[in-house]
Symmetry: C5
Subunit: 322 residues, 5 copies
Amino acid sequence: MLINCVAYQDGKKLADLSVEDISNYVGRPDCFVWVALRDATDDELATMQHEFGLHDLAIEDARHGHQRPKVEEYGDTLFAVMHTVELSATDELRAGEVSVFVGRNFVLSVRNRSHQSLLGVRARAEREPHLLRHGAGFVFYAIMDAVVDRYFPIIDAMETELESIEDQIFVRGSARTNIEHLYELKRRIMLVKHAVTPLMESVSKLWSGRVPLVCEGSREYFRDVYDHLMRINATLDTLRDTIGTAIQVNLSMVTIEESETTKQLAAWAGIFAVATAFAGIWGMNFEHMPELKWKYGYPMALGMITLTCVLLYRRFKRVGWL
Amino acid sequence: MLINCVAYQDGKKLADLSVEDISNYVGRPDCFVWVALRDATDDELATMQHEFGLHDLAIEDARHGHQRPKVEEYGDTLFAVMHTVELSATDELRAGEVSVFVGRNFVLSVRNRSHQSLLGVRARAEREPHLLRHGAGFVFYAIMDAVVDRYFPIIDAMETELESIEDQIFVRGSARTNIEHLYELKRRIMLVKHAVTPLMESVSKLWSGRVPLVCEGSREYFRDVYDHLMRINATLDTLRDTIGTAIQVNLSMVTIEESETTKQLAAWAGIFAVATAFAGIWGMNFEHMPELKWKYGYPMALGMITLTCVLLYRRFKRVGWL
Amino acid sequence: MLINCVAYQDGKKLADLSVEDISNYVGRPDCFVWVALRDATDDELATMQHEFGLHDLAIEDARHGHQRPKVEEYGDTLFAVMHTVELSATDELRAGEVSVFVGRNFVLSVRNRSHQSLLGVRARAEREPHLLRHGAGFVFYAIMDAVVDRYFPIIDAMETELESIEDQIFVRGSARTNIEHLYELKRRIMLVKHAVTPLMESVSKLWSGRVPLVCEGSREYFRDVYDHLMRINATLDTLRDTIGTAIQVNLSMVTIEESETTKQLAAWAGIFAVATAFAGIWGMNFEHMPELKWKYGYPMALGMITLTCVLLYRRFKRVGWL
Amino acid sequence: MLINCVAYQDGKKLADLSVEDISNYVGRPDCFVWVALRDATDDELATMQHEFGLHDLAIEDARHGHQRPKVEEYGDTLFAVMHTVELSATDELRAGEVSVFVGRNFVLSVRNRSHQSLLGVRARAEREPHLLRHGAGFVFYAIMDAVVDRYFPIIDAMETELESIEDQIFVRGSARTNIEHLYELKRRIMLVKHAVTPLMESVSKLWSGRVPLVCEGSREYFRDVYDHLMRINATLDTLRDTIGTAIQVNLSMVTIEESETTKQLAAWAGIFAVATAFAGIWGMNFEHMPELKWKYGYPMALGMITLTCVLLYRRFKRVGWL
Amino acid sequence: MLINCVAYQDGKKLADLSVEDISNYVGRPDCFVWVALRDATDDELATMQHEFGLHDLAIEDARHGHQRPKVEEYGDTLFAVMHTVELSATDELRAGEVSVFVGRNFVLSVRNRSHQSLLGVRARAEREPHLLRHGAGFVFYAIMDAVVDRYFPIIDAMETELESIEDQIFVRGSARTNIEHLYELKRRIMLVKHAVTPLMESVSKLWSGRVPLVCEGSREYFRDVYDHLMRINATLDTLRDTIGTAIQVNLSMVTIEESETTKQLAAWAGIFAVATAFAGIWGMNFEHMPELKWKYGYPMALGMITLTCVLLYRRFKRVGWL
């Protein structure tokens, strides 16, 4: 579906174009065309391929989706794939894709399986004509910056969640829930990491060393995006590492708790075993058991049993088993 | 066994050749010969070595098989080894090998221990003469692309399997089965990884930096294959990492379950120990135990035992041991 | 808030400046201006941006904070972000930020969320005019050196803490406390690591290979800072590694202790089970149980029970279960 | 001990030499001398050093042994150390050493602490004069190839052993044996890895980039050796990784088994505790316990006890505890 | 403290110098001065700095100590820090430091917190004038070689210790001691690793690529030191890896032992529970229990109990629980 298609000159909007008009503008040396598609059909992609002279392999990637994030050069044209990550209504992470084709005087973005509009990018760019004047490379930066900025709230949410798990990790009896949450969180971190790490590697080629011509004027902007990606990536690595440690620590806590339970079990079993042994002894049927005849034999027996149990109880209490 | 042997000119099929005719065509500057062998005999390999001037070491590798995937240059000739991975009838993973020799005007593929035919590759290539015109390098790409594309369903199956294990991982009593499946899955992942990682490293030399002459015109196609391999490799790494975590989590779950069992054991042992201790006390043979003479002594005793047990039961229930 | 703003010439203080005077001095080829801000407002940053011609992206980073440590070149100007790490009154680690802009003849430092003054840096620099003569690059070094020097006591405190945990790690019953401390310590190490590692990587570009012009004369000084960062980083890595091992060892100790407890439990349970079994047997109601009639039947029974228990006790003692 | 000492010209054997004759042949531009020593004495090494002009440090390394595998250039002479790995009569791995000195027209091999003869290498080389014609570099390749080829059966044996351990890993009661075998296997893998990895790194310098003059003509052969080493190294890494996982899995299996034992223990303890509690209650000495007077009181009691135990047994059976 | 101060010419000792004479000799193009200090005072360092024109930062490092091992160039002068590692009288590892300044015609070594004299280095060097002729670079090598050679016995001792722990690792009941030793050994390995790894990285710059002028003539000697460091480093890595595995294996052994204990506990508990249950049943007070009246009721009961226990015992024995 075509979202919009606009020609820009010198940082200012020239005209809303229909698809047919593109060829009239794309040839002019001083202006560029910015087309946005969403869940593009094969026909739309074919038209665009024809208009902008795009490479077969890149079009195929944009059509099929499910690519790794990447930035590739096909002659003078750049082809970039980025992953969008968004929380669905049911609070699950969902990955979408934005493919961007960038030439000397055109930008074509194709958004797939993503609910987040990129309209804000265009609006903001149009409000800053002194930046938009940099041309297609700057638009490319603006789209990428928008995609990357949307990773931050996701990361923040994951950090908050990890912290709330950490608050539970030394609480007795929460081990099962903790481990389920940690495992689920790790799964989500991997999903975001797949969006971030390959993009980071690709973006590094847009500002250091030999830079594609179209990005030359926006080097410092791409370095800024790179810096954001580095930060996100470092945070993800720390999250992963912390989850690993948390899983280990959680296992330790379970073992410690079990050890404490075993000790309690041992203590109570001991106390009752002693009581039962005493009772068993006085329950024997020997004829000559003088204490059985004593007037206060029974209270004495009860007293002895109770006393022994209390002594044991206090001893276990002292060594921390109870 | 010779599968087929065809000469191509300008992207179109020229003629089916017998082995003897090869030398007539291989010398012509504007055409190339594409030979496909399967489980080649020493004689066939010797003939081919003679026809195309192949290096001893490469022929030896093709004959013995069991090589790592690789792409090597012998002068102007490329020698590549790729692993095929396929599910056997009994659902086991089996690795085969495809060796490819590529020269300026010939391609020789030798398929070993693999049931999957490469005939489809030739058919598709012949349907696209504008691409086949690129020559031997493009045919090389087409074969490699076919081999790599067949990794995807294998990977998908392994991802599905891991997900189905993950669904079981927090289910009580499934630990033994889970760990067996995880271990087995890891073994299979390693097998595929051995096919993918070395190939990926080798392919990178076919599109970046100095590229062998025969692949020069198909750089972007090899980059595409490289990209697929990168994607597969990243997926394999994630699978491995996830299996590692799953094994750890599974161990935690076992320990948690054991801890819960120990608590239940402790609770019931406690309840019955108390009952037994009471019964033991009233089973003592003291002469003066007034309650034994009471009319309602027995119901009272039963009542006390029951009451104590119920109180204990509710207490254990409250702290979550039962 | 403006802390101070001074012009230097030839290593000596020329004059305290008001913000308006800056432009008069910053143009002179032989002197440089050193401005220090703290928790700068947007207005102050805007003024500075105007005075020194700073890049939008750098100013934005300095305004928002929460950047990774880094050193970036914007044309001839360097922009550096460093993290300060300090212990709060309640003994918690807190991270602040120092942003530094360095040009051929100016240094602008902006300190955020940090209680530690950098005034000492200026005082020391003014006492060493032969070094201050090196200009803005040397001032940059001096600030960085001060920030990095303040990591050392933090690291030392963490090493001391780890050692005190290690003293507890083989002590019975301390597992729960140890694991909590280890986890907390690891969290703090990660925080410092985030300050150190990216800075280390950035600083390496200030002394090896192509070095920004403004730092050229102070190469050896930046190498010295780099060396300190390497040392801190190596210490942090060792701490992390040791904590990982300590967590593992702690888990082992818990398991060993549980194993010892289980053995004790088994031993005592055995002893009392034997006593109870004996008593149970002589409590049976068979008519013909000759020993029940014996005069010394009861003492004999008690003796046998005691003897068996003592023998068992000694046996368990010998195999180390008690 | 001198094994043999032969001069070759144009790929063919010229003459068996005595040590004194070496200097007559080593100077001739078109021939080379191949000397093989075994457990060389200091005198022999001194003679050889004099004959071929070898460096002090290299001779010292060859004398003392216990070096890491390496390939070093001393001027035009190459000095290589390789480890041989062989199974002793008692099935233990033993490491020996082969030191090789290679010059433009000589090869000197010194074998230490190794039972495997290198005579086969010379025999095979003499059967292929068209290859031997390549000179000293090719002889160097042939020796290295022989050493590396002997790693394969060792690796295969270790793979077979790991597989046989894997067959035991999910078998109850085999945990102790498994872990001992795994630990022992890992130790042996490390020993072979120490032979392989450093050699691999060194060999890479014999075929890629700037190559020592003497190996220039045999580049493709050294690449072949390199390829073998890569394959061995990858296999060793997989073995190591698999052992790590197997140790983890083994621990899981022990814990699972313990958990199952605990459940069985809990179940039987429960059943007997119930029986004992019932018996205890009817063993109390209250005067008014009507059921004690019933004619079928005893069978009823036995029936109730049995019934309860059977019900419990079936319940435990159903939940999988028994 | 000044140990000694000697001028050399052409590999031979010229004269013992007092500190004042240094300047007379250090200027001569064909001779060099070798000064050795121990636990140098600030004054001594200041004098040396003046005599040899040393850099402030290097002097500060030598004064404060506690640096990472490193080799730094200050103009034409090299500054190196190495760690000495020695066993104290109480068998503890202690780290000291040797700082070396090397110029075209001087060597200054400063030894701190180390009991091992470097006098032997000078003595050996003076016995080999043909080597000492290489000048200051060779002396630098000789000192470094001496420091590195002293790592070997430390490493050997640690390997021996690990082996003796490994002998204990599968022995029952030694888990606690093992884990303490492993942890302690790991701590010591880290200490040596801190001495070795950074030095290795620094030394690599003394023989490969661009080499400082003063070391140019001794390249092969520094490569030899590098090789030793590589070997030590590889050994340390293997030790670390093995300790990691040993800790894991030790944990497994504890768990296996616990599992065995649990089984024994379960078996004996089962046997006695059966005996007690039988006794309890015949201890019930029903009036109509015919077997109680039998003449051989009691022996029969004892027999049945014994028989059941023996059967159980044999069954448990057979499944390996006892």
